[in-house]
Amino acid sequence: MKTYIQLFTLIFLAASCAKDADLATDQANFTRIYDSNKFDASYYPIDIKQTPDEGFLILGGRRLTDSNLSGTYLMKIDKLGAYVSDLEVPTDKVGPIGPLLETNGKYYFFSMTPVGLNIQLCEVDANGGISKTIAVVGDAAIGYPAAAFNDNGNFLLLRYDNLKKESVVDLVSTAGVTTNSKGFSIGAGDGVEAQFITHFTRTGRQFPFQVGKAAGKYFFNGFYQYNFSLVFADFADNSKPAIVFGQAANGGFSSIVPLDGTKFAASRFNSGDNYLVPNAIFKTGADNKSNFTDEDLAGNYLPELSPNATVRIISATVNGKDIILYGSNTRSKQISLYGYDKATGKFIGSRYLGFSNPFEIAAMTTTKDGGLAVCGTTYVAGRFPRICLFKISKDELAKSFK
């Protein structure tokens, strides 16, 4: 009897201290869908940044009834994923683009005015409020902003200049002053411009415009001479760019992240098919010409991805190992994550997020607790576009990407 009682005591002690929820557990893993009960509301996220309080700031867009362009939406959530506040930014700021550019404790994004296409830089505080709107002056004052990049406190801006029919890369300060600018013709005629317009009005295909810096140059992923190409250049007048040609709007790169020198993690699309290229080497020297289908850029073909899928790439450290994480969308309407060893490009695991309703990726970021935040769009009740957030703990990542 004594042994029996001792056995029970041990079991009960083990059970009672086993698994009560705590703050760390609640913060480590969660899934959230941020819902509005407005039948006609439509929200989509553009980028997410973790704020110093370990909460998150989400830049998004929203449907406007009085403009062909998207409105701007900001949301602040806490470290447990709970909703704190949101802001339906007034309609004088439309066509917002990511990423959220963080410098000196402030967050910035580019948008434009609905009339006149005046580009403006919006300063956002960590609580999701717009603290300042700065009109961009100089060459970058007018156009359709397409992509941005934080270049050590100044911002690279890729925009479409509809007057000159050019893809233009600008360097803009936080005061909104354009300090450098260089344009690249998209080609004569209206064919390419039509695709720009449907992209900006979100009535057609969303192109993976991107601008960044690598190997001492800036690069942009956008239209150049009729093709959706990857272009490496600098601002010197007489420099000749290096070009990795795409094929019209049918083929090109869907995401690029510089790793080391001319080594990149990339993904490409070709007539709807998608390829992940964890160890891409681009020829970035002046006047180099190559093609997005070159043999050394073949990569891994993923037929499970949706046609011309959105792809996001980040570097992360999981299990003490540097990895490259790809996030994309599957044909089955899930968000898929793929991990590759950063040094070797070897596949190390995958994970799928979302089910039942459609889910689409918008952005992902590593978090201060070693986890991962994946932000996307889901269609609640199969129809209402709403922002969703998956927080995956360090331990869960370690299980998925060994």
Binding site: A18, D20, A21, D22, F30, T31, D35, K38, D40
Partner: protein
């Protein structure tokens, strides 16, 4: 069932015969035999089998949600737990040691409980009331546990019909869990009132739950029928630790996708069981196990 009964019967007869043999050898005279008999019948081992039904209710310790309202109150989408609505089953093997009116008992059980909850979502166009959708999510959660209780039971009277009270402590070992989600919608944006009932989503949910411990108390009565006892009892069981697994709260994408997050829960059960108990030893062929 018949096989179990036969096995229990054989075991009890064998143990009874063994007890009688030992007792005969020790009985020298009538007085001493009577004194020994009194001492003997103050103790007894009982072995039995019970089965019955139960009803469960889950109470949230801490609520969790996936669908997070931005422009309406979270109370509008809060899950509403039903009280003791669905019927589950349990089967029990009872092993009890009787001493002077008290039973010290363990009653290992298989218990399958079902509790339900629901919530409702609504989207409305403020400028066009014809555009609205109402969705009702009904979740049916079945959990299966192996119970290991320690119970003290006391006979209130010593007659042929013996009412008793019992209290105990138990540990419930998780065996399995299955969740069924039924979604029904009323869509008024399609030009009329469109009622949609989707096929239930049935998902294995063992990862969402864990083993737990709890306390129990109840009443019942046993009735002497020949040399066995028929027993009927009703017990209230209350978990004292969280039955959910916080680590895996959001791990099931099928459930997360439709906005279901597992709350931290306490589980309450009301069980009603009936069965039969067999004495494990007999003083003599004329001596009944209920004598004292």
């Amino acid at each position: 069932m018949r096989k179990i009964y036969l096995v229990l019967l054989l075991v009890s007869v064998a143990l009874g015969a063994q007890a009688q043999g030992k007792k005969r050898a020790a009985a020298f005279n009538a007085n001493k035999q009577k004194a020994n008999a009194n001492q003997f019948i103050e103790q007894q081992w009982w072995l039995g089998f019970k089965a019955g039904i139960n009803m469960a209710q889950a109470d949230p310790i801490k609520r969790y949600t996936i669908l997070t309202p931005t422009n309406y109150s979270s109370s509008l989408v809060e899950k509403k737990y039903d009280a003791f609505k669905e019927i589950g089953i349990q089967t029990t093997v009872e092993i009890s040691y009787y001493y002077k009116g008290f039973y010290f008992s363990t009653q290992p059980s298989y218990i399958s409980s079902t509790f339900t909850y629901s919530n409702q979502l609504q989207w409305v166009n403020a400028t066009n009331v014809n555009e609205q959708l109402t969705q009702t999510y009904k979740q049916t959660q079945k959990v299966e546990y192996a119970d290991l209780p320690f119970i003290i039971k006391y006979d209130i009277t010593g007659s042929k019909l013996r009412p008793f009270v019992q209290v105990g402590i138990f540990y419930s070992l998780l065996l399995n869990a299955v969740k069924t989600v039924e979604v029904s919608s009323i869509d008024q944006a399609t030009g009329g009132t469109n009622t949609i009932n989707s096929e239930p989503l049935i998902v294995g949910a063992k990862d969402l739950f864990s083993s737990y411990w709890g306390l129990m108390g109840g009443i019942g009565a046993s009735y002497q029928f020949g040399n066995v006892r028929l027993v009927l009892d009703a017990t209230y069981r209350q978990s004292m630790s969280n039955i959910a697994n916080p680590q895996n709260r959001f791990i099931n994408d099928r459930l997360s996708g439709i906005g279901d997050a597992q709350d931290d829960l306490n589980l309450k059960n009301i069980t009603i069981s009936a069965g039969v108990l067999f004495p494990m030893r007999y003083l003599s062929s004329s001596f009944k196990s209920n004598d004292r």
